[in-house]
Structure formats: structure tokens, C-alpha cells
């Protein structure tokens, strides 16, 4: 579960990591005009409360307006603006909201006066089975680019998962980045706080990029990237799935059901059991020139959720539903029966191609035949059938002038 910047920063702040003073303006149910007004009001509040260290003589406090959405490169995309004064900030908000993205909220922050930027992150290393801290004196850039182009600019600290982070490690990292004195001390403290967040919140990734060093020598988190391990949510009760974290209603509803789902814009709905098999079917559809409408898994613990899965598929404007399974625990007979029951209930308006194999497959095939479906046995044959059906429908629609 990837938190938005503002959520991550709230976690950081609670852990003792300095973050810029800010106000959040939610955007889900308001007009752009209302949002712009709320941004202006937020700026007034921040200005009133501020000790104004970045307020130029006679001028307005510098403010940053940042779109809150799960997307890299927000700056380049024009989703982050610096403005001075309530009116300019409101204008920035209007500009951002006009970019055509779904933006759940705007974060309105007091700008800080930046001397330098650092990079800092903590993640898990699957191979060595350690936690790993990465840091660089060259912050604010894409760490992947930096890793490719100037790997020597990245310092790596390996943290034993039982002994935990040691003082010498955070201190040593600060000195290795060329920091000194008070800044080094602040950085070491920030590393320790971020490690507490990483461990305490079961994070997959805890990243601060950039870490600002202000002109007055203070360290402050310029951004947050905090991904909470979905498998740990049972013990991280403060984090809950929310609609705003998803691109579509279908994706959110699927997530609530625990059904892996991804939205695409093709015309073949996948309804597969098994992550690896679903991914392979996705490949095969693409190889064959087809286009996927949605990726969906109803295998594993969800093998009895055929009805819910089909409902999600039917939300798409797809031409065909392609069911491929080769199940073990996910019994073929149960899945086949689920498909047939769902068809009776939902009366799908599009053809369904089935390739259901595995435990109790003979019974499954009888069930499908009884419902008028052809039980295919070969995945690639089934994929081709779906592609052909989709193409035929496209052809019809073209002829009908509907495309």
C-alpha cells in the first residue's frame, strides 16, 4: 500500500523527522473554484502562523502546491508549483487541477530555502536477507538513474534484521556523505527515525527524496515515499485501503475483495486463476495481437469468487471474457460451477471462453458443457479463440459504424 506524500509525511513527523509546515486540501468532492479558494485560505493560515524565515522584505511567503497522487515525475508533469501569496497559490491550484489527472488532494506547504538536497531510503534486500539503507549527497534525482549513471554517488549500509540499525552506521553514513558537525548529527538522527518508521510500520520502502538542507543548516524531508507491506496490514491497523488509492472503482472494489485487478483499455477481459498463469495469458493475448481490458485473478483463496470476478469484468466495455485456470487447491469443478452460476445470475452480454484444468477437471468440463460452454484444454488455443472473438466483434462494430 503506497501512501500519498502527505500521509507519509504525517508518519515521518510523528517519528520525529522534520517536515515542512503544511495544510491539506482534499479535492474529491469540490469544484476547482472551491479548491482554489481553500488553497488560498491554507496559504493565509500558513503565513499567519509562520515565523516567516522565507518571507522576502515586503513580499509574500513562498508556498509550494503539490498534487497528491501516485505518480513519479510530478514536477515535470506540472503538478508541483511554487507560488507567493494566496492568489498565486490559488492560480497554481487551478493550473494543477486542469492538467487532466485524477487528484485526490493538494498539499499546500511552506517552501523552505534550500542549500542542498540529499537522498535517503530504506528497503529490504531479498537476496542477502537484510535491510538496506541507500543515501546520496545528490538528492532530488531519480535514484534508478543515479544507480545506472553514477553508482559511486550512492552509499549503501546493510542493516542486520536482528541486531537492527547501529549508531555507528547512521553516523558513519552521514560522514561518508561528506556532512559534518550539526548537519551530520541531524542526518544520523533522521536515518534512525526513518529506520524506526520502516520497521515499526512494516514498510517495503521508506524514502525521503529529496532531503533538504536549508540555507540555515536544518534538515527537512522534502517528499515522502512510504509503501506499507500489504501482508502486514493486519498488524498495521492505522493504514486502510481507500478509494483514492486506486485508479478506478473496479480496481478499488477488487482490492476490497482481495482480488488482484488491473485496468487496461483493450477488449479482452481476463479472468484467470494463478498469478503466474494470468501474467502468461496476458503475454499471450498481447503476442497474438489482442488487447487486454482487465487483468484479474480469482485463483488461490478467491477461487470461489467467480461471481464477483465476473461482475468486475462486466464493468468493462470488453468483447469477451477469457477464463484460464490450471488449479491445484483452486478446484476446477468449483471454479466451473462458479462461472456457470455467475452466468445464470449476471447474464453476460459477451461470449465466455473457458480453459479450466486441474483438480477435478473432468467434473468441471461436464458442468461447462451442460451450460453450453466449450471446455478448451489448451491455453494458447483459448487465447486465440478470445482474440478471434474480439476481432470479430470489432469488425462488426466497424461495419455498424459504432467504432
Amino acid at each position: 500500500m503506497k501512501l500519498f506524500e502527505y500521509q507519509g509525511k504525517a508518519v515521518f513527523q510523528a517519528a520525529g523527522i522534520p517536515v515542512p509546515e503544511s495544510r491539506l486540501v482534499p479535492c474529491t468532492s469540490a469544484s476547482v473554484a472551491v479548491i482554489a479558494g481553500q488553497v488560498a485560505e491554507a496559504v493565509r493560515e500558513l503565513t499567519a502562523a509562520s515565523s516567516s524565515d522565507n518571507k522576502p522584505a515586503g513580499g509574500d511567503t513562498a508556498i509550494v502546491v503539490k498534487a497528491q497522487l501516485d505518480m513519479g515525475g510530478r514536477g515535470k508533469a506540472g503538478l508541483i508549483h511554487v507560488a507567493r501569496g494566496p492568489e498565486a497559490a490559488a492560480e497554481a491550484a487551478r493550473t494543477i487541477m486542469g492538467k487532466g489527472y485524477t487528484i485526490p488532494a493538494l498539499l499546500v506547504e511552506r517552501a523552505v530555502s534550500i542549500d542542498r538536497e540529499l537522498y535517503l531510503s530504506i528497503s529490504a534486500d531479498a537476496t542477502s536477507a537484510n535491510f538496506v539503507i541507500l543515501a546520496s549527497a545528490e538528492g532530488g534525482v531519480d535514484i534508478e538513474d543515479l544507480a545506472k549513471n553514477r553508482p559511486e554517488a550512492i552509499r549503501r549500509v546493510v542493516v542486520d534484521p536482528f541486531r537492527g540499525l547501529q549508531g555507528y552506521q547512521s553516523r558513519g553514513l552521514a560522514y561518508d556523505l561528506g556532512l559534518s558537525d550539526n548537519v551530520a548529527k541531524q542526518f544520523a538522527a533522521m536515518v534512525e527515525a526513518l529506520y524506526r518508521v520502516f520497521r515499526g510500520k512494516d514498510a517495503e520502502l521508506a524514502e525521503i527524496n529529496p532531503v533538504f538542507i536549508t540555507t540555515s543548516g536544518e534538515l527537512i524531508a522534502g517528499d515522502s515515499k512510504l509503501i506499507i507491506d500489504d501482508n502486514s496490514l493486519y498488524r498495521q491497523r492505522e493504514f486502510q485501503l481507500a478509494r483514492e488509492q486506486f485508479d478506478s472503482d473496479a480496481a478499488y472494489e477488487a482490492a476490497v475483495e482481495g482480488i488482484p485487478y488491473l485496468q487496461f483499455d483493450g477488449d479482452i477481459s481476463l479472468m484467470c486463476a494463478g498469478a503466474g498463469l494470468a501474467t502468461t495469458v496476458f503475454d499471450l493475448v498481447n503476442y497474438g495481437g489482442g488487447a487486454v481490458a482487465n487483468y484479474l485473478e480469482f485463483g488461490g483463496p478467491n477461487y470461489q469468487k467467480a461471481q464477483r470476478a465476473m461482475e468486475l469484468c462486466l464493468k468493462n466495455q470488453s468483447s469477451v471474457i477469457l477464463v484460464v485456470t490450471f488449479g491445484t487447491i483452486a478446484r476446477a469443478d468449483v471454479m466451473a460451477q462458479g462461472i456457470v452460476d455467475a452466468m445464470k445470475l449476471l447474464k453476460p452480454d459477451r461470449p465466455i471462453v473457458t480453459c479450466i484444468r486441474g483438480t477435478n477437471e473432468e467434473e468441471a468440463h461436464e458442468t461447462l458443457r451442460a451450460a453450453g460452454l466449450e471446455p478448451l484444454l489448451d491455453t494458447e488455443v483459448a487465447v486465440q479463440r478470445a482474440i478471434d472473438l474480439a476481432a470479430a466483434r470489432k469488425g462488426r462494430e466497424k461495419k455498424d459504424g459504432r467504432a
Partner: protein, 298 residues
């Protein structure tokens, strides 16, 4: 012969009295697996399919010799259960749990490494040496997939394994031992860590790996081949060539971040090392025949 698990391997089942544990223990026994003890706290004295149940692993190993532990334990209790097996001296542990917290997995793997143990899973069907023994939940009764033979199989998937292994069997081969390392971001054991055993196993003539995007396990296999430490024929199928970058599609481990984890890098590494890579499951059989012939097998 086989690797990891064979006809003689004495198996303990943790969580044996649960629905899943009891169900699959039955199948393990049916297949010939030597399930000698079970553990469920508070249920000592019971029997499940004739297998005696103990309160703890320590109490089980005190009364019967055990070489491998099979866990049917929920994800949130998996770390404790794996520690229990390892700390009791068991060095082969398989967990099918789907949803083990990632930081727990890091700790489990770190502890297993410090002991020289191999913990397989989570999010897997387990390990099977068809016709001999099983640590997991495989439909071994589907002969067109789980036919005994000479091909070692390693996989990150479940259903896809059935799909690909069926192609191996269709090409005229069978399986020596199949190891499902699972689809998590942190598999508790990794492909390359089983290569020495496959290399040493006289019954294994070639290995098929069923990989996918994300992580570096396939590259590690390529490195072992390139270093000359694994010399048997190896055929790979790798899924997710057309998966969108940055999205988590499929398994938790199947995510491309930045420049690592792309199928392209895996294919390039494996082919450079001399392995054959199939672009679709149906291509696996022919490539395997080709590799086997080249190696002098029929």
C-alpha cells in the same frame, strides 16, 4: 533419486489438525510421503490419519526422528513456526502460507541462512518428487503434469507450473523434483540455491525454470551456469514480457523497479550463459528436447 525430498525423508507437519493440514497430510501420505509426526499446540495425543500429534516441534523430535517440516500455518504465525522447526534442528522447511509479512520473511531467511537451512516458500505449492514424496499440495494425481522422470523443475508460480510442466511431460519427459520457491518478493529460498543439488543428483538430467518478471532469481541462475557451477541442460520459461513497468501484476515478486527485474535482462543473461529460453509454455517441450539431445540424452 531426487533432491530435497525423497521416499525416505521423515516429515513433520506443523498445523496438522487444521482443515488444510489434515487434507493435504492425507494426500502426502497417499503419495507415499513419510509423514511421521504432526504438531498442533494443545492437541498432543490426537492422531490425524494415524499420525501422532504433539504440542510442539521439540516434543515431536524428542520422540521421533524428523528431517523436514511441512507447514500448514497462517501467514502471521509462519515466522514463529519456521523458527520452531529450525531451532529444533530441522534444516528443510516448506511453508505454503500466502501473505507472510515481508519483514518477517527477511528475518526467516536471515535466520535460515545463518543455520545453513533451506526454507521453501511462501506462496507456493511446495516441493514434490513425483512418485516418491511431497512437501506441499500438488495435484500429483494428474499424471500429465506430475509424472516421475528426469527433469528438475523450479518455479515461482502455481497454476503456471501445471501449465508448463504439462509441456515437459507432453514432450516425453517426467519430473525428478519440482521446487516451488513461490511468488513473493522475498522467497525464503532462491532458484540458484537448489542448483548444486540438481547438479549432484544423478536422476536429474536437465532443469526447467519457470520464472517471471521481477527480482533477480533468473539472473542468479544464469550466473551459476556462466561460472560453470551448473552444467546440465537448462530451459527457462519467463512470464510477464508484456507486463507494464511499475505496476504490481501477478505475484508480489513480479514487479519491475527501475532497471532491475525486466524479462529482457533475464532472457539476455540466461541466453548468454547458454540456457534456452521459451517465449511461451508450448515452446518449452521442443527446447527441452533440443537441449537434451545436445547433452547426449535421448
Amino acid at each position: 533419486m531426487s533432491i530435497y525430498v525423497n521416499r525416505e525423508t521423515r516429515i513433520l507437519v506443523q498445523g496438522i489438525t487444521g482443515n488444510e493440514g489434515a487434507f493435504w497430510s492425507k494426500h502426502m501420505l497417499d503419495m507415499g510421503s513419510k509423514v511421521v509426526a504432526g504438531v498442533t499446540p494443545g492437541k498432543e495425543g490426537q492422531k490425524v490419519h494415524g499420525v501422532p500429534v504433539f504440542h510442539s516441534v521439540a516434543r515431536a523430535v524428542a520422540s521421533t526422528e524428523v528431517e523436514a517440516a511441512m507447514l500448514f500455518v497462517p501467514p502471521r504465525f509462519t515466522r514463529d513456526a519456521v523458527y520452531e522447526a529450525l531451532d529444533a534442528g530441522i534444516r528443510k522447511v516448506v511453508t505454503i502460507a500466502d501473505g507472510i509479512p515481508l519483514q518477517d520473511q527477511i528475518q526467516i531467511r536471515a535466520h535460515a541462512q545463518s543455520l545453513g537451512a533451506q526454507v521453501v516458500g511462501g506462496n507456493t505449492s511446495g516441493v514434490i518428487s513425483p512418485g516418491a514424496s511431497m512437501l506441499g499440495m500438488f495435484p500429483y494425481w494428474i499424471e500429465r503434469v506430475y509424472k516421475p522422470g528426469t527433469i528438475g523443475v523450479m518455479t515461482r508460480s502455481g497454476s503456471l507450473t501445471n501449465e508448463v510442466t504439462a509441456m515437459v511431460v507432453r514432450a516425453g519427459y517426467g519430473v525428478s523434483t519440482l521446487v516451488g520457491v513461490g511468488g513473493d518478493q522475498v522467497p525464503l529460498s532462491r532458484f540458484a540455491e537448489f542448483l548444486p543439488a540438481y547438479q549432484a543428483d544423478p536422476a536429474t538430467q536437465a532443469v526447467v525454470i519457470i520464472g517471471e518478471l521481477g527480482g533477480t532469481m533468473e539472473e542468479e541462475v544464469a550466473a551459476e551456469i556462466a561460472a560453470g557451477r551448473f552444467t546440465k541442460p537448462l530451459v527457462a520459461f519467463i512470464g510477464g514480457r508484456t507486463a507494464p513497468a511499475g505496476k504490481r501484476m501477478g505475484h508480489a515478486g513480479a514487479i519491475v523497479t527501475g532497471t532491475t527485474g525486466t524479462v529482457a535482462s533475464k532472457v539476455a543473461a540466461l541466453e548468454a550463459a547458454g540456457a534456452l529460453v521459451a517465449d511461451r509454455p508450448s515452446a518449452v517441450g521442443a527446447l527441452l528436447q533440443q537441449a537434451m539431445q545436445k547433452a547426449g540424452h535421448q
